[in-house]
């Protein structure tokens, strides 16, 4: 095979890769479009009469917290304001070295109580359990450091209710978030897990710990992430849900059937992608058993989170996510191609392997190939241009379809120029951001392959939503 043949083969390979990737994403788009339209038709006509409200099952909201002294009090206050029939808040202090626990004890009037702890799922030693004298539905577990998954397992062990909701300490919910995300469990008793859309909180206004006004962030980096999240959730997740092939429920906000998760063995503690790994394992467990189940997605924007506004922090996050993806997929290969695994094992899993796991490597190699090929005169300027326009154009198209889905569904961003800004971000994303992201993901892949120990690292929070909780009035100060 001559070098010209090799170059031609590689060119065709990269061209086909982008075409196939874009086609599959567009099909996911179509699936999401149909699902979201149907869902919005129910919502727009207020389908269920008033008598159907108040039937929601009770939920334990698990809040794993490690060194969250700055934000934990505000987070708990926001959770206390949720409008839901019956729920409890269970904060799991995971070996914090700052004064997270002390702040909780002081603010919420906590007293120790005898735990009679059920150690069904593996976790580090529980040091003490506290209940609030002022808020009967709030408790705190204090334990040895074990990581987020470990903290969640401890919380699941101690949870009182049949459903639990996993949430990050800095997640911001809306008053009816729990009410919305629990609906799949009411609609279909086979439901074992449900996720919701996570949006970017940067630039929005939060009062008393709840989101009251949605705004786009000012910074370009955060604005680009808004578009990314829209893509990832509106069709990246919603597209798979109708086929019961949703492989990820974000750890930022998801609700699970406690009994089923215990049956599956809880969260794995040796991975940074514990959220995805659990969902994959639930699929594997129920599919291989041939037991009916459903893992689904609620397209409502139910949870808001702060996106990194610094490159260093963003890099750490993306490297960690790719590691988590790698660890989750490789430890659940039993789902791939199993004769009972259905769409989850025969379509979704290979898709994730090829386009999400290996995809960044193929993209980076593609960029490397065309740039060095051009530099050495092997590829023409037109070939270089064609490749880049293809890479940029396909992502732009996908971003715009996400904006279309956003407009036909929740049109969250109401400002006059909001869509214009998002469109500009969708274009800008492809002029460096996406490429750097691919490099970070390749680093994550490399570290996973080398077996470098996983760690969460520290998220530097800018807290650009303007709130502090006044301890006397417990009202926000803008």
């Amino acid at each position: 095979m001559s070098s010209a043949d090799v170059i031609a083969v590689l060119q065709w390979f990269f061209l086909l890769y982008f075409i196939v990737l874009t086609t599959v994403y567009l099909l996911l788009n179509l699936s999401s479009f149909i699902a979201i339209r149907r869902y919005m038709q129910w919502r727009s006509v207020d389908v269920f009469p008033e008598i159907f409200s108040g039937l929601e099952p009770p939920v334990t909201v698990l809040v794993p917290a490690h060194n969250e002294a700055r934000t934990i009090v505000a987070s708990v206050y926001s959770l206390l304001q949720l409008e839901y029939r019956e729920y409890e808040i269970l904060v799991v202090n995971d070996g914090s070295s700052d004064d997270t626990l002390e702040r909780l004890i002081g603010e919420f009037d906590l007293v120790a109580y005898p735990a009679a702890y059920w150690q069904g799922l593996p976790c580090e030693t529980l040091k003490a359990a506290y209940r609030s004298k002022r808020y009967p539905n709030m408790r705190v577990l204090d334990k040895e450091r074990g990581g987020k998954a470990d903290a969640l397992n401890a919380g699941i062990n101690e949870a009182r209710y049949p459903l639990f909701c996993s949430i990050d300490a800095d997640s911001i919910l809306q008053r009816d978030s729990l009410h919305r995300i629990v609906q799949p469990f009411l609609d279909d008793q086979r439901t074992v897990a449900a996720g919701g859309i996570v949006r970017i909180a940067n630039g929005s206004v939060v009062q008393d710990g709840l989101l009251v006004d949605t705004r786009l962030p000012q910074g370009t980096l955060a604005l680009i992430q808004v578009v990314e999240y829209l893509r990832a959730f509106l069709f990246g997740r919603m597209g798979w849900a109708p086929f019961n092939a949703l492989l990820i429920i974000s750890g930022t906000f998801g609700v699970f059937d406690r009994k089923k998760v215990i049956e599956a063995g809880g969260y794995r503690r040796d991975t940074v992608g514990e959220d995805m790994e659990l969902v994959l394992r639930l699929h594997r467990l129920f599919r291989t058993r041939g037991e009916p189940y459903r893992i689904t997605f609620v397209p409502d924007p139910v949870c808001w989170t702060e996106a990194p506004e610094r490159w260093r922090v963003l890099a750490d996050q993306r490297i960690r996510w790719q590691r988590g993806l790698s660890e989750s997929l490789l430890s659940n290969l039993g789902l791939l191609g199993h004769y009972r695994s259905g769409v989850a094992g025969w379509v979704a899993f290979p898709f994730f392997l090829i386009f999400e796991w290996l995809g960044p490597l193929i993209e980076v190699l593609g960029y490397f190939f065309v740039v060095t090929g051009f530099a050495f005169g092997v590829l023409s300027a037109s070939a270089l241009a064609a490749f880049f326009i293809l890479a940029i154009g396909s992502t732009m198209l996908l971003s715009v379809t996400a904006l279309l889905l956003e407009e036909i569904s929740f049109h969250t961003y109401q400002g006059r120029y909001a869509m214009l800004r998002l469109f500009a971000a969708a274009v800008l994303e492809n002029l460096g951001y996406r490429q750097i992201n691919s490099v970070w993901r390749v680093i994550g892949l490399w570290r996973s392959a080398r077996g470098t120990p996983s760690q969460w690292g520290e998220m530097t929070r800018a807290n650009t939503w303007r709130h502090r909780v006044d301890p006397d009035t417990r009202r926000s100060e803008s």
Partner: protein
């Protein structure tokens, strides 16, 4: 070696690039157009609601003295949603007045037409409206919707029950068994509506006697949801003939007559811990003072969950003296029992 633009691969790549960019730009324009249309529709809907709300609120209090205005096409959605919401938030004479207003505004004819619409949202609205109007002319159309997917079928079931419960139930009861996509909690709530509960319970009792075993767990969930009275004999018969925990547990859960306590106590030592746990929970709910000692014995059960339920049940007993329970938590010979009771007492103290 460089590839010229005449190369077919390059030409294909550029063609695809152009197509992608054109489609992306067109889609973006579509987004802007949809946004403008949506804002226009929202304004119209708000105007419709502002116009019709006072008329409907007035109709709740008194019969209309003149015929209501004609409904404009663009007002239909907002009007139907508003009318149904109001309808489901009032009782008694207000419902009759609202129904009268609805018929005078030809909502019944509109809803009958919309029941045949191809658009899901119109059909859903139509079903809900026809049920609230108790519109008999919709009977056959609604019966067809019983076999549609969720939520259409659930709404149709509710509508039929609202129109004529005696005629609807023979069709609905088999569906309660077969439709495992019907959410029990929601269906149970409309089965209880308008005081249909006792009638539904009679039909459920008949179904429990005649249905195959595989449908019993689901039927029993409805029995529990409706808190059916006079089921004790039927539940006892089921327990006499079934040993499967999938049937025993829902039977125990469905007991609501203190007369059943003796039967329930017989399951406190069952081999299956889920059965024991449910027996404890049910006994706690129905308990008389002499049952307290049985619950105390369950505090020493080898299974954590049985002990947990026993502790919760004891603490919730209205006649159990807290001092006595605190002493028990301090002095019980079984350490696990002491821990569990102390925990339950601590939780009760915080509520």
């Amino acid at each position: 070696m460089t590839l010229p633009l005449t190369d077919p691969m390059l030409r294909l790549a550029f063609f695809i690039d152009l197509l992608l960019l054109i489609v992306a730009v067109l889609l973006w324009f579509e987004v802007m157009v949809l946004q403008s249309l949506r804002r226009y529709r929202e304004r119209l809907d708000e105007e419709s609601r502002e116009y019709w709300r006072p008329l409907m609120v007035k109709a709740l209090i008194e019969s209309a003295k003149q015929r209501p205005p004609v409904i404009l096409r663009r007002e239909r959605m907002a009007l139907l949603i508003l009318w149904n919401r109001l309808h489901e938030s009032v009782r008694g004479a207000s419902i009759e007045n609202l129904n009268r207003l609805g018929r005078e505004a030809d909502l019944d004819k509109l809803a009958l037409r919309l029941l045949r619409s191809r658009r899901l949202k119109w059909r859903l609205l139509a079903i809900r409206t026809l049920g609230n109007l108790r519109e008999r002319d919709a009977w056959s159309g609604l019966r067809k919707e019983l076999y549609a997917s969720q939520p259409t079928s659930v709404l149709a079931a509710r509508a039929l029950l609202q129109i004529d419960p005696e005629a609807a139930l023979p069709s609905l009861i088999p569906l309660l068994c077969e439709r495992d996509d019907w959410p029990v909690a929601q269906v149970g709530s409309f089965l209880r509506e308008d005081e249909h509960g006792p009638l539904v319970c009679r039909h459920l009792e008949k179904a429990l006697r005649e249905a195959p075993a595989k449908y019993l767990p689901r039927l029993l969930r409805y029995v529990r949801s409706l808190d059916c009275a006079d089921m004790t004999a039927t539940l006892n018969r089921l327990l006499d003939t079934h040993n499967n925990p999938n049937i025993v547990v829902p039977c125990l859960r469905a007991f609501n007559d203190p007369v059943a306590r003796t039967r329930v106590r017989g399951y406190l030592e069952h081999a299956n811990w889920v059965v024991r746990m449910q027996a404890v929970a049910t006994l706690g709910r129905l308990a008389e003072p002499e049952d307290e000692r049985y619950l105390r014995e369950c505090l020493a059960d080898p299974n954590w969950w049985v002990r947990y339920r026993a502790a919760e049940a004891l603490v919730d007993l209205p006649f159990a003296a807290r001092d006595k329970l605190r002493r028990l938590a301090a002095e019980h010979p079984d350490k696990f029992a002491r821990d569990m009771l102390a925990r339950a007492l601590a939780h009760a103290a915080s509520v």
